[in-house]
C-alpha cells in the first residue's frame, strides 16, 4: 500500500467518523428543545454533551479535508480553493461542492457558537439553525460522493440514523419546544409549587408549541 492509498483510506475513515459525531451532535441539540432524551438525562447534561461533541466532529472533519489534501491523486484533480469555494471543482463538482458548502456552514455555526454571548440571541438562533441544513448537505455529500455509501452495510446504518434525525427534526419544526413543565406533565409528575415557567431571555412571545401554556389553557 502506498502513501496515497493510505491517505485515501484515512480520509474515508475520518469522513465516516465525523458523520457519526455530527449525528450525535445533532441528536443532542434536538434533544435540548424536544426533550427526546428527557428519559436519559437532564437538559444541563445534554447541553454539556452537545457542546462537547464539537471536540469530536471538528477534528475528524478537519482530518477528512487534510488527508484528502495529502493524497496526491486528489491534489491532481482538486485545488485547495475547491475545499473552501463550493461547486468550482472540475471533478465531481456537485458532490464535492455539497461537502464544501456544508464545511463552510459548519464553520459559521461553530464560530458563532463560541461567540454566542456577543451575538444577539435571535441572530444566533437563526444562524445555529443552519446546522440542520449543513447536516443535510453532509448526508447528500456522502451519498453522492462517498466511496462507501454504495455498500449495504454502511448505507443501512447511515440511512437509519438519517431517518431518525429527520423524524426528530420534523417533530421539532412541527411541535416546537417541549418545556420542562411539559415533560413533567407527560410523566404525570406534579409541578413544583409556586414555580412559573422561566421567561424568555429575549422577552419575546412564548415559543410555538409551548405545552405548559396549552396545559394551563386546558385547566382553565
Amino acid at each position: 500500500m502506498n502513501i496515497d492509498t493510505f491517505m485515501w483510506i484515512l480520509a474515508r475513515v475520518s469522513g465516516l467518523g465525523a458523520t457519526a459525531a455530527l449525528g450525535i451532535s445533532l441528536l443532542t441539540g434536538l434533544a435540548l428543545r424536544s426533550a427526546v432524551l428527557d428519559w436519559l438525562a437532564t437538559n444541563r447534561a445534554v447541553r454539556a454533551t452537545h457542546e462537547f461533541t464539537a471536540l469530536l466532529w471538528i477534528p475528524l472533519g478537519l482530518f477528512h479535508v487534510v488527508f484528502l489534501l495529502l493524497d496526491s491523486n486528489v491534489r491532481n484533480m482538486l485545488r485547495p480553493v475547491d475545499f473552501v469555494v463550493p461547486f468550482q471543482a472540475g471533478f465531481g463538482a456537485l458532490p464535492l461542492g455539497l461537502g464544501t458548502l456544508s464545511l463552510d456552514l459548519i464553520v459559521v455555526v461553530a464560530v458563532t457558537g463560541w461567540l454566542r454571548r456577543r451575538i444577539h440571541a435571535a441572530a444566533w438562533r437563526w444562524i445555529h439553525r443552519l446546522s440542520y441544513v449543513a447536516c443535510a448537505l453532509v448526508f447528500l455529500h456522502a451519498l453522492l460522493g462517498g466511496s462507501d455509501f454504495s455498500s449495504p452495510q454502511v448505507s443501512a446504518i447511515t440511512w437509519s440514523a438519517a431517518a431518525v434525525l429527520l423524524v426528530l427534526s420534523l417533530a421539532r419544526v412541527a411541535w416546537g419546544r417541549l418545556s420542562a413543565g411539559d415533560s413533567r406533565e407527560l410523566r404525570q409528575e406534579p409541578e413544583p409549587a409556586g414555580r412559573a415557567p422561566a421567561p424568555r431571555r429575549d422577552g419575546g412571545a412564548p415559543p410555538r408549541g409551548d405545552y405548559t401554556a396549552r396545559a394551563s389553557e386546558r385547566r382553565r
Binding site: 500500500m1 459525531a21 450525535i24 469530536l56 460522493g145 455509501f149 452495510q153
Partner: protein, 70 residues
C-alpha cells in the same frame, strides 16, 4: 430522577464516535478499492478497461500505475 450525569453522556458520545470510526476503518480496510464508488475514474463496466478517446494510443508495456479498482 437525576438521570445520567454529563460525564457519562460525554463518555458515551466518545465511545460511539470511536466505535463508528473503528468500524469504518475495519470496513474500508477490507474494501479499499470499490468498483461502485461514485467518484471513481470512468471505466468500461464489463471489461474494466479505461475508455480511451480517439487521440490516445495504447501500449503493450506493463502498467506503471493503478486506478482505484485496478
Amino acid at each position: 430522577m437525576r438521570g445520567v450525569p454529563a460525564w457519562a453522556l460525554k463518555g458515551g458520545a466518545v465511545c460511539l464516535t470511536v466505535l463508528a470510526t473503528w468500524a469504518s476503518a475495519g470496513y474500508i480496510g477490507g474494501h479499499v478499492k470499490d468498483r461502485s464508488a461514485p467518484l471513481r475514474p470512468s471505466l468500461h463496466p464489463e471489461t474494466g478497461q479505461v475508455t480511451l478517446g480517439p487521440a490516445v494510443r495504447t501500449t503493450t508495456s506493463a502498467p506503471v500505475t493503478e486506478s482505484n479498482i485496478s
